[in-house]
Symmetry: C2
Subunit: 400 residues, 2 copies
Amino acid sequence: MGAGKSRNTMHLSKQSQLLSFVRERGQASRGEIAQALSLDKKTVSGLVEELAGQSLVRKAGFRDSKAGRRQELLAIHGSHSCFIGVDLGATHIIGILTDLNAVVLDRIFFEIRPGLPVDLILSQIKSIAHRLLSSDKATAPVKSVGICVPGFVNSEKGISLIAENIPGWKDIRIKDILEGELDRPVEVDDCSRAFGRAERWLGEGKKAGNFLLLDLGYGIGMAVFIHGELYTGSGNKSGEIGHTMVKLDGPECTCGNRGCLETLASGQGIARQAAHDIREGRSAVLAGLTHGNAEAVTAQDVAVAASMGDTYAAKLLREAGAFIGAALANAVNLLNPSLVVIGGGLASAGRVLLDGIQESLDRYTMMGIVDDLRIELSRLGPDGSALGSALLAMEHVFSP
Amino acid sequence: MGAGKSRNTMHLSKQSQLLSFVRERGQASRGEIAQALSLDKKTVSGLVEELAGQSLVRKAGFRDSKAGRRQELLAIHGSHSCFIGVDLGATHIIGILTDLNAVVLDRIFFEIRPGLPVDLILSQIKSIAHRLLSSDKATAPVKSVGICVPGFVNSEKGISLIAENIPGWKDIRIKDILEGELDRPVEVDDCSRAFGRAERWLGEGKKAGNFLLLDLGYGIGMAVFIHGELYTGSGNKSGEIGHTMVKLDGPECTCGNRGCLETLASGQGIARQAAHDIREGRSAVLAGLTHGNAEAVTAQDVAVAASMGDTYAAKLLREAGAFIGAALANAVNLLNPSLVVIGGGLASAGRVLLDGIQESLDRYTMMGIVDDLRIELSRLGPDGSALGSALLAMEHVFSP
């Protein structure tokens, strides 16, 4: 903001501010923009004309003001450009094609069977991206691609450092690989953060300053938002709630430590426990659901068994919920957020898990802190992380 | 920063920026200030003259620049004004008198015996403040007073909402009470945050962006700093690491929940456990140290017993350290800070507790995250929170 910056940078920054404001609001009049950005109306009109000329902003009808005058509304022009968002999970790849308003135009789902080699996973990602690039649903050229991967990421260099839940996946230069293949800029982030980004822009997090996104799936992750901004930590490794200790000297985790939340309550942890207990003959329902192949059991099977009235499955989910609630309460006691959004595949495992979470959260969150807190289930469905990846891809349009 | 703000506000904000920069650096030349604040040298010289005229900035000698020219250095003028900082703990009141550079000029310590009535505590605080106000060590008039209290605080209204560790202490309008008594502005915050503020400005936190201050005492608190700023949470209640769950279904806590860190590892928790075990005849050394009055035992006694080779006391401290390390690891895994500073009365309980913390921290912190992390013991001594209170009092000089 100082005298050292050039006029051009200042101007760009005003364009970005205008775009961000309109994006945040959905629709806004020139007067609202002028007030919010502390600019005079003439400057705003000039900026709007420039952005409309670039097809970034479109005129979106009129609204009557209190004073009786008609105000023209402005909105982001969705068909300015398209984007691809890819979510690589331990058990799936989801690819979506969106416009600049993050409206999903096309979608591809691929299930990853356990043990699929790393090079085949990479081939699938490329293939999905190519199919989306040539999709006939596109309303504009695809400008860039975002991809999220589980585990630690070097976002700057676009390297997926390690994904403990994908065997053999380590130091994958995914940005370089995909940029070479797709001939477009590629951005990389962690999947829970991508999910959080989607909640921040499209979901419950829209109006929350300090909020947490709890991503319950095959692993367990968290995105931390402080004053509306993603908090990444000093080494880009924040949010590892899956590896917070909830049971002293508990079972060993893939990370090498003991008693981590993930070992006790993630999709993977629940499935591992269920497999063991099926072999011990503790659930006839689950043995039936998996046709006697205990190793193949998933957390989803456990959820189905619980919904069929299997008391073993219900107990397993409730206990998992209790651990999740306790870890979440710890994060809430530390950070006193106004909102927690719970999402991910495991969040749809049904009432019994969620009841376990809520009960434990009530039990371990401090009285005064729980008063400030709202808990919501994500409404973004299974595409939360893929949407967040598309948002990551389009970030440079709003903040060049 | 927008066009809506008046020239005067902009000017004030430049003065503040200059003061904050010089304060942060200790000493700075006009050239360094100009570069850091993106101002031209003439503007800087003008601002410096104004601030020197108000006795806020003083000339602090010369330094030779690389180019061979002598550069005049500027520093904050400590004797511009004095401040009082008060730290109310569960077992003590510390009052200090400082100058604008936070140099301690005078100090008063008062031990609170268990069960001292609230009105007598308040009388003592007033008495200490009056004695400091009339101290002959003052180098300038006392401009304002900061006080920290344990537990939840409404900082805006200056109300101490609840301090669970001081019986009967609830909804104390401490700002109003002290302003009426002392005829000066009074600022109020939580003691762990005050301690964190002292670390941020005077201690290890000086150069760290994301850091945690772990305050181990009669209770256990934490101050969270994000990008160098104190993070307060959505309801001003962040940092309650003392009430994070470290043992499912553990002992009941003063907060009403179970298995909180404070019940297992605070000064209070250690003393309670020791009192129980002295009655059970588990430590002859501790029974001797307390002359058979088990109820009077303190965590300090346990530390002394451990240093005398008492294996019971050493085990108790090591276990407490293990719980503290686990809770700290959880916070570190969530926030990936670059620095954790450990301080407070219990931090001086000796090697055995610290070894327990370190061991457990190593055990439960994720591999990649521990690489970014530096752990330091606070060097501010027992006055950390009182110093932070004085810094709170002088904040309005730097950010009016």
